[in-house]
């Protein structure tokens, strides 16, 4: 391989170099740390819980994987198309880093109604960041999805924890994503997103 080839930062997509770079990112150091942690957890639970519980956990793990894989796959395809088709500059104006409270309210409402699991919510979070949503909006959106997502409340809170609990939890949590967004805007920390490290976020100092 010539020096010129190794210097290529973005290999031609679909080509051999591109596949190699995708695989390299997929199975980098952090993957092996994860794998080691999974192995450790497996060994500990085998020792502490015994073979029977261990088998239970394995079959539950497989079921969970079967549940997640198709969701993650299709969510990435949807996010990829949205990314390409979206008029980035026009959406930027909508969520732009104006630092207003209105953005936090809209982000909270968007989090409540986002359908699907973490695969869709985090893909949407990346999109919001890429069109210039500031840290307050990002934190408010993902906190709102996590605490108040209607889909989870309907599927899990209501049947398992009951109506009284679900209503109380929803109402007391309702203002909290906005609070988290306001705190995020005041934190004296630099924010560099993986996909847009060069972008300055809208922290008000």
């Amino acid at each position: 391989m010539s020096p010129g080839e190794t210097a290529t930062i973005h290999p031609r997509t679909g080509g051999r170099d591109w596949w190699i770079s995708v695989l390299g990112e997929s199975f980098g150091l952090s993957f092996w740390l994860f794998a080691a942690f999974a192995l450790l957890a497996a060994v500990i639970s085998y020792v502490i819980l015994g073979p029977e519980s261990f088998d239970d956990a394995v079959s539950e793990n497989l079921a969970q994987l079967g549940f997640m894989l198709p969701r993650v796959a299709v969510a990435q395809v949807v996010a990829g198309f949205v990314w390409v088709l979206m008029p980035h500059d026009r959406v930027s104006q909508l969520v732009g880093p104006d630092g207003g409270r209105r953005g936090l309210v809209i982000a909270t409402m968007a989090g409540i109604i986002t359908p699907g699991g973490p695969a869709s919510a985090f893909s949407l979070l990346v999109l919001i960041g890429s069109v210039g949503g500031d840290r307050g909006i990002l934190v408010a959106y993902i906190s709102s999805w996590a605490m108040l997502g209607l889909q989870r409340i309907l599927v899990w809170d209501l049947p398992l924890m009951g109506v009284e609990f679900s209503v109380i939890r929803f109402l007391v949590c309702l203002p909290l994503p906005i609070l988290a967004g306001l705190i995020a805007r005041r934190l004296p920390l630099r924010l560099r997103l993986v996909e847009h490290p060069e972008q300055q976020d809208g922290r008000r100092s």
Binding site: T13, G14, W18, V22, E25, S26, S30, F31, F37, A42, S45, L49, D56, A57, E60, Q64, L65, L69, R71, V72, A73, V74, Q76, V77, V78, A79, G80, F81, V82, V84, L85, P115, G116, P118, A119, F122, R135, L138, I142, S143, M147, R152, W156, L160, M161, F165, I168, L171, V172, C173, L176, L179, I183, A184, L187, L189, R190, R192, L193, V194
Partner: protein, 169 residues
């Protein structure tokens, strides 16, 4: 397969057809991005889900539920928060642990802080999605921003349940 998965598949197909119809390479670029993200997420996801599944089995539910009773007030809120932090798994595990706490007599404020803490800090989600897609810098900002929310939610729930019992609801 439930409704939301059908919606996602429908969206994927509709957007794919639209991207193809533009005939400007949008379709290919969208798929390239999808493959890149998929490759980043899935190997880590396999490991994290397996680890989470085992760790979830090790959580001492019965032991913790002793500290979540109605008479412990603020202490219950703090312990509920801590318990929520250590559940490293999806809603199946979190809500079954929550239901076990509830049947062992945990108070509503303790349960509110438990579910809120789990929803904000779920470790598996951080490892599977947040770090690969957004990075440590975002994780740090987000964690510091939401740190006080679970005990705050529990405190508000405590105030709400006290107010409700005073008016006789």
């Amino acid at each position: 397969m439930n409704f939301s998965v059908f919606v996602l598949y429908g969206m994927g197909i509709a957007l794919g057809v639209f991207a193809l119809s533009r005939g400007d390479g949008s379709f290919q670029r969208g798929l390239v991005r999808a493959v890149e993200h998929f490759g980043k997420l899935v190997p880590r996801m396999l490991c994290a889900l397996v680890a989470a599944g085992f760790v979830a089995k090790l959580i001492p539910t019965e032991f913790i539920s002793r500290f979540l009773g109605a008479d412990v007030g603020l202490a219950g809120i703090l312990i509920g928060t801590l318990a929520g932090l250590i559940v490293p798994s999806g809603p199946v595990v979190a809500f079954s642990v929550g239901a076990a706490f509830a049947s062992a007599g945990a108070s509503v404020p303790a349960l509110v802080s438990f579910i809120t803490a789990w929803s904000l800090f779920a470790v598996h989600r951080i490892f599977i999605f947040e770090i690969p897609l957004l990075g440590f810098s975002f994780l740090r900002v987000r964690l510091l921003s939401v740190l006080i929310l679970p005990p705050l939610a529990g405190g508000l729930a405590l105030a709400a349940t006290r107010a409700m019992s005073m008016v006789g609801m």
